[in-house]
Each structure stands twice: as structure tokens, then as C-alpha cells.
Symmetry: D2
Subunit: 304 residues, 4 copies
Amino acid sequence: MPEQILLEQVVDKVRPLIGSGKVANYIPALGNVDPNKIAIAVTTADGQTVGAGDYLEPFSIQSISKVFSLTLALSLYSEDGIWCRVGKEPSGQSFNSLVQVELERGIPRNPFINAGALVIADLIQARQSAPKHRMLEEVRKLSGNSHICFDKNVANSEFKFSARNASIAYLMKSFGNFEGNVDTVLKSCFHYCSLKMNCADLSKAMFYLANRGKTLQGHQLITPVQTRQLNALLATSGLYDGAGEFAYRVGMPGKSGVGGGIIAVIPGDMSICVWSPELDQNGNSLAGTHMLEHLSQSLGRSIF
Amino acid sequence: MPEQILLEQVVDKVRPLIGSGKVANYIPALGNVDPNKIAIAVTTADGQTVGAGDYLEPFSIQSISKVFSLTLALSLYSEDGIWCRVGKEPSGQSFNSLVQVELERGIPRNPFINAGALVIADLIQARQSAPKHRMLEEVRKLSGNSHICFDKNVANSEFKFSARNASIAYLMKSFGNFEGNVDTVLKSCFHYCSLKMNCADLSKAMFYLANRGKTLQGHQLITPVQTRQLNALLATSGLYDGAGEFAYRVGMPGKSGVGGGIIAVIPGDMSICVWSPELDQNGNSLAGTHMLEHLSQSLGRSIF
Amino acid sequence: MPEQILLEQVVDKVRPLIGSGKVANYIPALGNVDPNKIAIAVTTADGQTVGAGDYLEPFSIQSISKVFSLTLALSLYSEDGIWCRVGKEPSGQSFNSLVQVELERGIPRNPFINAGALVIADLIQARQSAPKHRMLEEVRKLSGNSHICFDKNVANSEFKFSARNASIAYLMKSFGNFEGNVDTVLKSCFHYCSLKMNCADLSKAMFYLANRGKTLQGHQLITPVQTRQLNALLATSGLYDGAGEFAYRVGMPGKSGVGGGIIAVIPGDMSICVWSPELDQNGNSLAGTHMLEHLSQSLGRSIF
Amino acid sequence: MPEQILLEQVVDKVRPLIGSGKVANYIPALGNVDPNKIAIAVTTADGQTVGAGDYLEPFSIQSISKVFSLTLALSLYSEDGIWCRVGKEPSGQSFNSLVQVELERGIPRNPFINAGALVIADLIQARQSAPKHRMLEEVRKLSGNSHICFDKNVANSEFKFSARNASIAYLMKSFGNFEGNVDTVLKSCFHYCSLKMNCADLSKAMFYLANRGKTLQGHQLITPVQTRQLNALLATSGLYDGAGEFAYRVGMPGKSGVGGGIIAVIPGDMSICVWSPELDQNGNSLAGTHMLEHLSQSLGRSIF
């Protein structure tokens, strides 16, 4: 199991890569982050969390929130209730998910592309009177950190530039695969994405993925089978159009966000979170991916 | 570890599904197979092979051969020599790989779609004077069965209906990503696909994928790192447009063929081969997938 | 020049085709039309209008309104002001214009597909305080019929099922090619489409296309060059994905609507309007196209 | 009707545009042409031909030959025999015709895109024992110039770089829409394209398009109806992805070739050929289009 010193070595080894990627700047609120931040945290099977670098500094988790929202949906719906509305296959679209949604008549390829996340948020909205509040509570509980908040500034900024997501939502609506009010669901979605958490929070919160569905607090959040399935989906679709490369180099189920965070899991062993704001051309944290690659090599551990 | 009796239970449980799928019939030579055949074989970490059903009856391995040809290419070329010509990402195209090859300027998404397998065959052809002979020898050695042969009838039949594959090859040639003579490479490719092997042969031959690259005969065929990478590619792209569903249900790296065979691997534990000729709508063996799913559940084992 | 009797012959010849097409029923308000209606009206160079069949019965002009809105835009903007935001090429997309808008970064192919009509409506909205009122006035003036009205029922019904058009508008907005409020522009657009006019009204109103830009009332609505250009656009893009077939069979610039109307023009000679509610597979009036084909053959006139 | 002096004015006015386009250089044999060549020739209703600039200098007619081959096919097959294998619609594909052929299951959109021309050549090959010889004879007869030849150098050079066309042909073959031997048909096609003719030859040869199907020599080559239909197809699909713009600016049915030639027609009035080797971004002669535009404006003539 990784010790503090190993994590520090990983951070030091990868730090020189800072400068090779590009911070997401499609909204100003994200573009202002310090590109020199770099962090890793690991929660091991015994429930201990260790970290290195800026692992206690919160960042915008962005699409990593899609893991939380899918988990929430799994607790609200039957398997069929979810998978008749969203697929389980990698999108394989380097250009754009909108074309796919059109060609496949309103059914997004998987819950981790934007279209899929909107469907999941629509499902949650239909069953929850206060979905944003519920999500915040859940995330605070999972990480044991009651100070976690939404970054309203980021959420509002996303909404201002949400034309593309609105287009996707309306397209799905035209195919009968979107029930709620588009603006309301978009706002929920952007709030989930705007959660600010640090690497320690995230590695703790994701522990259930490494622990057959049981949280750090001992609560069975989802079943072991659901956990296995969720990990499978993360392995094939968690890293946008870089899932194959990530499996090839890192070999762990994972999920990235444009805030520069990536969570990853070795089932039975550990949950991990890395953070470095600069992204590669697929929109995944460049140094973050390298940290996971080094960690995997150092430990000689992966799922393959 | 699975015993004979468990495999027989798996076969018996799944046998009633025969009749729900469709035998591949795009060439007559394939359409003539008996749809009632059903088989499983497992080679465990200690090198023992057990089987049930028709596990000693040879069938057309078809696209399973793409694992052998990629392995051969890995031994002939540097990493860069291969991955500059073919990608590592799931294709995610339910409609067709030709569109993708066009949009991505001649670079196939991964080595397991047709376009990618043609590039791999082109790479082999450029370095091997007698690639078909070499492939046959390799496969005989890996499985320890010197009676394995090409089915010339199937190979010739495929060639007669190869217009679509020729179209893909010429398209890649137009982008500068195909060097050899199209007909020659197509013929090699169809020969690899026409190999007749039984489930026992295949589970033995694929043992290196479960054994960090070392064959059943103790030969280090590829490095442990290459093995891990190959398994990662199989996990994300080995089952056409059903890779996500397969990961979700079975949770093992695998590769299917339209002959109804599927090989799968639990790294460190076992290599498996199942066979049932009827296919699901993604072109993967319907009962075969169910056998793997049951085996995974019975053993409580998967990579997730 | 066609006389009453010729038009009656055309109607009689084509009437047996009623029953071979399909009335548009994506909104109830359109589906309720009597499919047996059939009509033709011609306004000749000397300003006379003759008609046959139900040529005095008003119907929903739908996309024929796109000719009026483009004409209005031509009077409000410079050439560049329009053509930097919408193309002049046939769409050639049998599947869907949304894919094209995505691939061509928010610029619709031409002003007669839905995406293009939305951009034109957006342009009008930016320069007109009361665009719906203005459009109504214009159309009444052009046809000399002050009783022409919007069908509010149709307009509201369209708005209720407008998710797909909203999706297109938001997609263009995401590329910076849509300025106004999406709902407001959609509502204007649906009002234009809901105009109820009869064949006589429409052949009169479109007379300027046959008369070098001068209306029946002697007003120079657009320049002769603009008129020639507008006719050229109608010839290449006026009939959705059936423009080539229409040119081949009818040989006139034209514009169809899903209400079953088609307007067509022989520059210098006449403007024509036909109506029959049942549509062919391209969404153009089936019997309407045949009436134009017969008229063209009878008169020995076309632009080719 | 245009006199010599008008044509000279047109050439002089447009000559300064030389330098703004790009000579086709995908094969060396085409890239060697002198970019300063510029020419126009007109054959009027009375059968007289006048020209200006380099109108007696032969150039590679390239895709203009598709008009001749479609005309030949019209004389060999019934209407249905042709139009069940190729469409009549503009392709509207800025990216590539291969995607369209795939999506529309082997049926090219029209006879003037590469895929369509290959189908037409395949049709001719099936009915003609010596199609290249027949084509040459026909073209010599139509233009009254017995010195017209193929440029074998160009034809062979095209064949050497024909992978993309081979890909398209094999794709259509895979859909059952290509009968002949791919290499043989490609060679015929490239020979047709390699014809060397001058502007006077071409304006004479195309005279039948302006003369209701009757050639300059008084032979009824195709019927008046077929002529009208052919002109309609040229108007909607003759200029690749620039057909809409060409109709808008020039307003005549036309066909361009990458050798820099364009033929155009005002039915009943005249056939025209212009030549200037530099192309615009759609692959049509840049100065050539401008010459036609000026001629149309000067004469106040177009089909609209």
C-alpha cells in the first residue's frame, strides 16, 4: 500500500509536466485556477487516507460529479428504469456527442458524456424535490467533510454559456427522452459540477467503488454487483475519448473533470484522486494521468 | 478455481438460450455450422485446462485471430511503430467503421475493428516473408496442437465477398496508411480468421494474457507491461459495439469472433474460451456471453 | 399562357393521385385538413390570375413563408449581413440538418432548411420591433387580400412541439450564430408558418419573383438582381431533399410547405401556386408536384 | 448575342484575378499547367462560335467529361436503368462523398460526384466493348475536331493515385451497385477525364444542351425532354459543393473540371466554355466563374 513518501515521489516526478497542458477556460470562473497546483490522495482498503502536494485544497470537481449523480440515480430507479434511457457503450466520438444523439434517436451512449449526464439529472429531478440539496448532503456524508459547498459563481457562469447543453437537452426532448424543464435540469447539473472538493475528500467519497459498495462510514450505498457494474462503465467510458488510452496506460476505472481532477479505483485495494488543472487534448488532466500511471507502475497494480 | 462440474452447470444453464440468436451467414461457409453446439474451456493459473460441452470441436475463430496478429505485430515493431498507425480508443460506431476512418483521416480507432486489423496485417506483411505460415506455426505452438489448420474454404469464401474490406483498405491507402498490395493483405487476413480451433486450444493459446505474457510452455511471448496493455485494449474495444455492455455484465477483457467464439481473461487467474454459434445484435455470441456472465458470478470473479 | 380550361385539365388529370401520399400530422392542427382538396392558380405576366379546383380555399402555408421572410431580410440587411450567417448550398442531408449545423459550426446550409429559417427570423427580430405584425401587413399587401390571418391554433401547436427547433437554435447559439431569445424567435417563426392563404393569394403574392422584383401592385420590392438570386436559391434548395428531382421533373424555382402548398415561378412568365395536402417521402406535396410537372409539359415551359 | 469584343472585355476584366486561386496539383501532370492561361468561347443559337484569350489551346477537361458519359449512358439505357443506380440530388457534403455513399447504402447522390461518375462508367462498360474508343469518337464528332486525344500521361498518373476512387468503387460493390472490374472501370473513367480539348471544342460539343438535344451537326443526340432534365441536373449538382453559389452568381446550368474548365448553357441561346487553371476552395475555376458571371451580367441573361 502506498505511503506518504511514495505519493510525494509521484508528485515530484510529474511536476515538471506542468506547462504542457491547457487549463479549461470556456468559462472565466474555471480559467482563473492556479495551473501549478498538483495533488494526489489515496484511501486504502483499511480506510486510511494519505496525500501529497495540494491535496487539501478544494477544486471544481466538474464531471467527476457524474459518478455521484449516477450513484444517486441507481438508488432511486430500477436497473431498467435507467438503462432504457441511456446506453452503456463508449461514445467513440472525437467530434461531438450531438451527432450521436441524433443518429441514435435521443439515447445517449453512456451516463458520462454530457447528454447522458443530462438524462441522469432529469431522472433525479423527477424523483427528488430538492435534488441539489440532496446531492450536497450526500457528498458531505461520503467524504466526512461538512464544509463542502457549491461554487455558485461557477454554476451561474456555466449556465450563462449553456447553449450547447440546452441544444442537447432539447434534442433528447424531441425524441421523448427528456421530461423535465430544460433550464431547471441544466441548473441542477451545473450545481453538481460546481462542487468544490479536495483530493482527500474525493478519494474518501469514492471509497465505496473500491469497497464493494460500502462507504468509508460503513454504509452499503449500492450493492456489490452495482459497484462492479459502475466500475465497468467507468473503465470503458469514464475518460471521454481517452478511455482506451487511459486503460492502456493506467489500467484503472476512472472519471475525469475539466477542473483537472481524476478519480480512479483499484477494486478491493484503494480509491485515488489526483489533481492538476492543465488538460490534455482529450480534456483529461495531463499531469493527473501521469501521476496515476506512475502510481500504477510503482505499486505494480492495475485491474489488468 | 472452476472444476469440471461447474463448467457443465454453466453449459446446462445457458443451453436453453440456443435459438434466440442468429448464426452469421454473410458467407455460406460460416452459415452451415450446427447452431446447437455449445462449449466452454478454462485454463487456470496452474496450467490445467478443463472443459464442458463441445469444447474439443474446432470452429472458425474469425476475429479472435486479431489477438494473435496484434501479439505478433507487438513482437515485430516498437510501440510507436504500431500506435502511429492505429488508435487505442473504442470505435463507438454502431453504424460503420468506414465513416470513422474517413473522418479520422485513415487512422482506425483500434486494432480490433476491421480497419485496424487490416493495418495490423499490413504491418505484419511488411516484415514477414510468409506471414500465413508464421501465424499457423505460432498458434500451433501456443495451443500445443499441431493439427490446427486454416479452413481454405472459409478463407476463399471471405475473399469473394471482400468488397467492403477492400474499400476500407483502399481508403486507408488514400490517406497513406496502407503500404502493401490490398489483395495480398486481405488474403492473409482472411486466412488468419479462417483458423479452426476448439475451446481447449484457444483457452490454452490465450493463457499468456492471464500469465503476464508467459505462455503455457513457459515462453515469455510479450512483456508483462505489453500484456497488461493488450488486456486493457481488449477490455475497451474487444467486443465491437458491445464492449461497454460486456464489461458491465462479464467484467473481463475479451475478444469475440463471428464464428461464435469468445475468449476472455482474468489476469493472474485464468484464460477462458466459450463457443456458441448464434450471435446477438452486436455480433457477439449470445449464449457465449451468458456463459461468461454465469462463470463470473459463480466464481465471484471479474476485474472490477 | 394558361387558360382556365388548361388548369382544370391539370387538376382533373392529377386528382386520381390523391390517396398515394400522406398528410403531415406531426401536429394535430395540420393533420385535420381534408386530403381531397386540390387546387392550382397562376398569375401571368400581364397580372391576371386564373385558378382551378379549391384555389380560393385558404391553407397553412408553412415553409412557403420562408420566401417572405428571406425577402424581408433582404430589405433589412446588406448582402453580406445575411450571407455571413447562412449559406447558399443545398443541404443534401436526407437524415438531418442538425448534424450539418454541427459539422459546419453553426452556419446553416441555406435559408430554406429549418436552421436557416431560424437564422433569418433571428435577423428580422433584431431589426423589427413587431416582426409578426410587419409580416402580416406585407403578405396582405402583396396578395391584395386584407383578410389573411395567422392561424393561432397552428402556431401554438407548433410551439408545443418545438423541441427539435429549439435544439437547432441553441446549437447555433452555442456557435455564436443566434442572437435573440430562442422562444421569442421560435414563436415568430411559427406565426409566419401559420399564415393561411389560398392559391390565388400566393400566386399573386409571389408575382414579384416572376417580375424582376416588382409586385403586382407595381412596387419594386427587391432589385432585379436580388430576384434572380432568390430564384436561383429556390431552384437549388427550395424543395428540401427533393430539389434535384423537382428540377429534373418540373424545372422551375419553387418552395414547398408541409401544408401541401408549393409555389413555383417561370421568371418573366408567371408565378404559380398548387395545393394538395398529401406529401411524398421528401415532404413535398405529391399531387402538387405532379400538377406543376403537367403544367410545365403542357405549356412546354421551364427554365431549362 | 455576344460578339468577339465582348468576350475580350470579359477576359480582360477577369485576368487580374489570376493568382488568387490554386492550380490542382494532386497529380503532377495537372500541376504543370501554365496558370496564366485564360479563355472563353461561346457557340450561339445560329451555330456560330466565337472566342477570346487562349480559347484554341487544349486543356484537360477532367470532370466535364461526366456530361459526355452521362449523355452516352442515356443513349444506352432506359431512364429507370440509370436512376435506380444513381440519384438526382445535390450531395451537399463539404467533407466527403464516401460518407454519403455509406449512409445511403451504395447509391451515389448524383452522376457528377465521383461515386456517381463511377457508376455511370460501370453502366457504359457493361454495354460497350470499347468504351474509351467510343467516347473519343463521340467527342470528336460533337466538336468537329478529329485531333482530340486522351492524355495518356494524365490518365496513368490518375490511376496511380486512385486509391480513394477504388475505395468508393469497392464500397458500392459491397452494396451491389458496381458490376464491373474496379481497375478496368477506373481506367476508363480516367481516360474520359484525360481528354484534351479547347474552349471552342467544348462550347461546340456542348451545343446540344442549348439546342434541345440536337448537335451542331444536326443530329438529335438526346430528346428535348432528356436535354431539359440533364440541364436541371447540371443546375443543381454540376459544381460540386458550389452549385448554390454558382446558381446565385451565374444562373446557368454548368459543369466544372479540376483542369480549370467550366461549361455552361443558356437553353435556347448558347453554350459556353471558360478556362482558367486556378481553382477556388470548392474546386471550381475561380476566374472561370467570374467570366461567366460577367458574361451573364453583360448580356442580362440567365435562366432565372
